[in-house]
């Protein structure tokens, strides 16, 4: 115990932030929030969408002034480099500008939109340095190079002259971090900095941020919705909900002895990879604190619902009257898989691996170049007449973003009815009755059919999309990252809904996801995709417990573990980047043959050893 209490770096008391909307009434996004950050400490602010966590961060940097919000109460006391305590809630805009950068820096979620696309990386970092440290352009660029090295960007000197679009998402986020750190801020505010990144890249960036925070000795406010990420990075945790603080405490206390019911619910909804390690069947998320039984829905015998053989989809880059085609994206390369009635096949991989292209090729949103697609035993490779009708009725697709996949100008009831009327399954008042019934089945009141998509919440919208997918009584639903855009608690509910529908109707799912923990819950079998090819496919338990392919192992190791005690012991991460599926025309990829390694378990065996 120190005799003299250490002054906090940031001390927020009773902060309220309101937004004016065009109806004239104010919307209070943050209400009476208290928050303290000590020097050199990492505070994670956790909450679901609309909890006010980002708004809090924007209030501290006063970027809120430009976003249509205003601080309606409270103080934001910040102790600056000279030791003077300032109230940022009342600081003049000009002084705030001088504080942003050298004192408080920010990193945002979307590294592509936060970087200026027409300036080179080097010039952008140098600009920040010149502005605040009054260095010459030459010296600033030299400093920019040193910063890029510190964020572990290989060949930093060469990267200086590249434009943001030439870098991968992970590299762009490193550049953003380098830019934020270039002025040696005393506090870094990171708003969902890893949310847009793939798991393996997220793991790299999280480790980097942890190391940099130590090296620079700065405080950090880390805003996230992901409890797994919190466990990886936080010293203390603040849980927010609907603009108010729910609970605050040491990271171990929050994870091990959560006091508030909301925190407990939040933690329960976090899928922990490995929780079904000892059983082979899928099992829904616990509901109301009770575990649900595992469910065995696969029906053996008879033809598979979906059979895909040697599916190949490639996209030509630059085609037109005057440009010659020089390269090709090999999105899907000789993919073969089958889904049995009542079975869920999880298709996992990182962005760009071709998992969505595979799903889209099946329902012909992309035109595959080669391969056979059979639905319930009959060939639907060529969409002609009867085959098209069978496929359109029997296979339905659920997209990632439920808001984008509903026509904003039509009521959701109309959208749900569209598959019924299009396939002429019912007519007249029967359609409306069926829409009401479908809404009930996905847990929504039938009156919601008269609403427009913007009048529903994210989870409700995804339920509408599921109702729509059910409308034509399909045998197979392809769920393309269908729960990725939802908050954790809603995600668990929607996964459980899908599993309940499978139980009741014997539906088969092709569940495309990057989230290994969710896949563990729902899938009977798992297929891992890498660069357009399936590198491992087999029973879920076998693939996850005993991954045979190096990439599967890497993917599993990168999943954040929602347990702060397990932090620190490095789990064999490498910093390599996933190569691009874009190839020259005369350089087709090698297709690795699948070799059986266990019952129903196959792994790609590559000709060249080492790199996968």
């Amino acid at each position: 115990m120190q005799a003299e209490p250490v002054l906090p770096l940031l001390d927020i008391a009773g902060l309220s932030v309101a937004f004016a909307n065009d109806r004239g009434d104010d919307f209070t996004a943050v209400r009476g929030l208290d928050l303290v950050v000590a020097e050199g400490e990492t505070l994670a602010v956790v909450g679901e969408s609309g909890s006010g966590k980002s708004v809090t961060a924007m209030a501290v940097t006063r970027l809120i002034d430009n976003a249509g919000g205003r601080i309606t109460g409270g103080t934001i006391r910040f102790r600056d480099r000279s030791g003077a305590v300032r109230d940022l809630a009342r600081e003049p805009a000009a002084d705030m500008r001088r504080l942003r950068g050298p004192e408080i820096a920010m990193v945002f979620q979307e590294p592509m939109t936060s970087l200026n696309p027409v300036l080179t990386v080097g010039d952008q970092i140098a600009e920040a340095i010149e502005l605040h440290q009054r260095l010459s352009h030459q010296a600033a660029r030299e400093e920019a190079r040193r910063m890029l090295e510190r964020v572990r960007i290989p060949e930093a000197a060469r990267q200086l002259d590249r434009y943001p679009f030439q870098l991968s998402g992970g590299m762009r986020q490193r550049v953003m971090i380098a830019m934020a750190l270039s002025c040696r801020p005393r506090m870094l505010i990171a708003d969902e900095p890893t949310t847009a990144l793939d798991v393996t890249v997220q793991a790299q960036v999280l480790r980097l941020m942890r190391e940099l925070q130590r090296e620079f000795g700065m405080a950090m406010i880390f805003i996230t919705h992901d409890m797994g990420v919190v466990a990886e990075i936080a010293d203390r945790v603040l849980v927010m909900r609907a603009g108010e603080k729910v609970e605050e405490g040491d990271v171990f206390a929050i994870f091990e002895r959560p006091a508030a019911p909301y925190t407990r619910a939040l933690l329960a909804a976090v899928p922990a990879l490995g929780s079904l390690a000892h059983e082979s069947l899928p099992r829904a998320f616990p509901e109301n604190g009770r575990d649900l039984p595992p469910q065995d829905t696969v029906r053996e015998g008879g033809p598979p619902v979906l059979e895909v053989q040697d599916l190949t989809t490639r996209f030509d880059v630059a085609s037109g009257w005057f440009t010659r085609n020089k390269a090709r994206i090999h999105a899907v390369e000789h993919v073969s898989l089958e889904v049995r009635p009542g079975e869920t096949l999880g298709l996992v991989g990182e962005s760009g691996c071709g998992k969505s292209s595979t799903g889209r090729s099946v329902i012909r949103l992309e035109q595959p170049q080669a391969g056979a697609i059979r639905f319930e035993g009959s060939d639907v490779s060529v969409l002609r007449g009867d085959a098209e009708a069978r496929l359109r009725r029997g296979v339905q697709y659920v997209f990632q973003d439920p808001f984008a996949s509903l026509d904003p100008r039509l009521t959701v009831g109309f959208s749900i009815a569209e598959p019924i009327t299009t396939n002429r399954l019912l007519s007249g008042p029967a359609v409306e009755a069926r829409v009401g019934e479908l809404l009930r089945q996905v847990g929504l009141p039938p009156e919601h059919g008269r609403r427009y998509p913007h009048e529903l919440s994210g989870g409700q919208r995804q339920r509408v999309c599921i109702a729509r997918a059910l409308a034509s009584e399909p045998r197979l639903i392809i769920a393309d990252e269908a729960v990725a855009a939802l908050d954790v608690s809603i995600r668990a509910q929607v996964v459980n809904l899908l599993m309940a529908l499978q139980r009741e109707r014997g539906l088969a799912f092709l569940f495309i996801s990057h989230d290994m923990a969710v896949v563990e819950r729902i899938a009977h079998r798992v297929a891992v995709m890498y660069l357009g090819q399936i590198v491992e496919i087999g029973p879920r338990q076998a693939v996850m417990i005993d991954p045979q392919h190096a990439y599967t192992r890497r993917l599993l190791a990168a999943v954040p573990v929602p347990d702060p005690r397990q932090r620190g012991h490095e789990r064999g991460l490498d910093d390599s980047e996933v190569p691009s599926p874009l190839r020259r025309l005369d350089d087709p990829p090698q297709v690795a043959p699948l070799v059986q390694v266990g019952p129903d378990h196959y792994v790609a065996r590559h000709h060249v050893g080492g790199l996968y």
Partner: protein, 288 residues
């Protein structure tokens, strides 16, 4: 926890639009003025104090007075009546040309953007050709071929309204055909024509409405210009552009001959432009 919906009011996109548009004062006033002009034009036989083409040789070039508020022209015809009747011609030229040009343009744009490929190239090159001519010059060309007269002016203005609509709708169609909800509709087997009419066209309508309003003003101006050049409405029909041309010889003597038709053109075109801007502001906000 999922109760992020601000309120339970059900608001259709149309209601949402009206809520925003109501606040645009200038556009509302412009719309009101257009309404007045349109009503006056429709009710011209009731509103106009005189027969617009009946000469009165005792009252030639009369100063504005209580009997003739806007004065009379070289044949003694009442200017006020001619301006009111002229509104009929000008507005119908504007409305018909925008409806015809808009309809053709929308269809071409939808097909072009939705199907792409050589169809798109063909339609867009056709539009490029039309765009390459200055609008007025093109209209003069068309009228020169077809012969002067107001119906040919309507054809001409219709033709050169097409490319703007086509390009606009094509742009929206290009963007919207990649929208996830259009893909979702495609994935359940919705046919191309339904896809275009139900899912893509409504998304393109805001742009069409705005462009339609701006173009209406523009076409009225072009029609007046053609009539001014003697290629449009033929005497004695009262048309604003033709009246300007008639009054030109008396500029120093009787300036009301050119003043009032000029004011009519100016106010109408300005009102359509202001209305268009207001519509754009109210419609461009995303319906979220």
């Amino acid at each position: 926890m999922s109760a992020t919906v601000a309120d339970n009011r059900i608001s259709s996109p149309v209601a949402e639009f009206w809520r925003r548009f109501r606040r645009k004062r200038v556009a509302l006033v412009a719309g009101f003025i257009i309404l007045l002009i349109a009503l006056a034009a429709i009710a011209a036989p009731l509103v106009a104090p005189y027969d617009p083409s009946a000469p009165d040789y005792d009252n030639v070039l009369a100063d504005p007075s209580a009997l003739h508020p806007f004065g009379t022209d070289a044949y003694g015809r009442d200017i006020l009546s001619r301006v009111i009747w002229g509104g009929r011609i000008s507005l119908s030229v504007g409305v018909i040309s925008v409806l015809v040009g808009g309809a053709v343009g929308i269809v071409l744009g939808l097909v072009s953007g939705f199907f792409g490929g050589w169809v798109d190239s063909l339609i867009m090159r056709f539009c490029d050709v039309l765009f390459a001519f200055p609008g007025l010059l093109l209209a003069i060309g068309v009228v020169a071929v077809l012969g002067p007269g107001i119906s040919n002016v309507i054809w001409a203005t219709s033709v050169f309204s097409v490319p703007a609509f086509a390009r606009l709708v094509r742009g929206d169609a290009l963007a919207l055909k990649r929208a996830v909800y259009v893909q979702a509709a495609r994935s359940i087997g919705v046919r191309p024509v339904t896809l275009m009419l139900r899912h893509i066209l409504p998304g393109a309508l805001p742009g069409v409405i705005v462009n339609g309003s701006l173009r209406l003003g523009n076409n009225i101006l072009t029609a007046a210009s053609l009539s001014f050049l003697g290629l449009g409405a033929q005497p004695p029909s009262p048309e604003w552009g033709a009246m300007l041309a008639d009054g030109r010889s008396y500029l120093g003597v009787a300036d009301w001959l050119t003043l009032w038709p000029g004011v009519a053109i100016f106010v109408t075109v300005l009102a359509f432009n202001l209305l268009g801007d207001g519509l754009r502001d109210a419609l461009s906000q995303k319906l979220r």
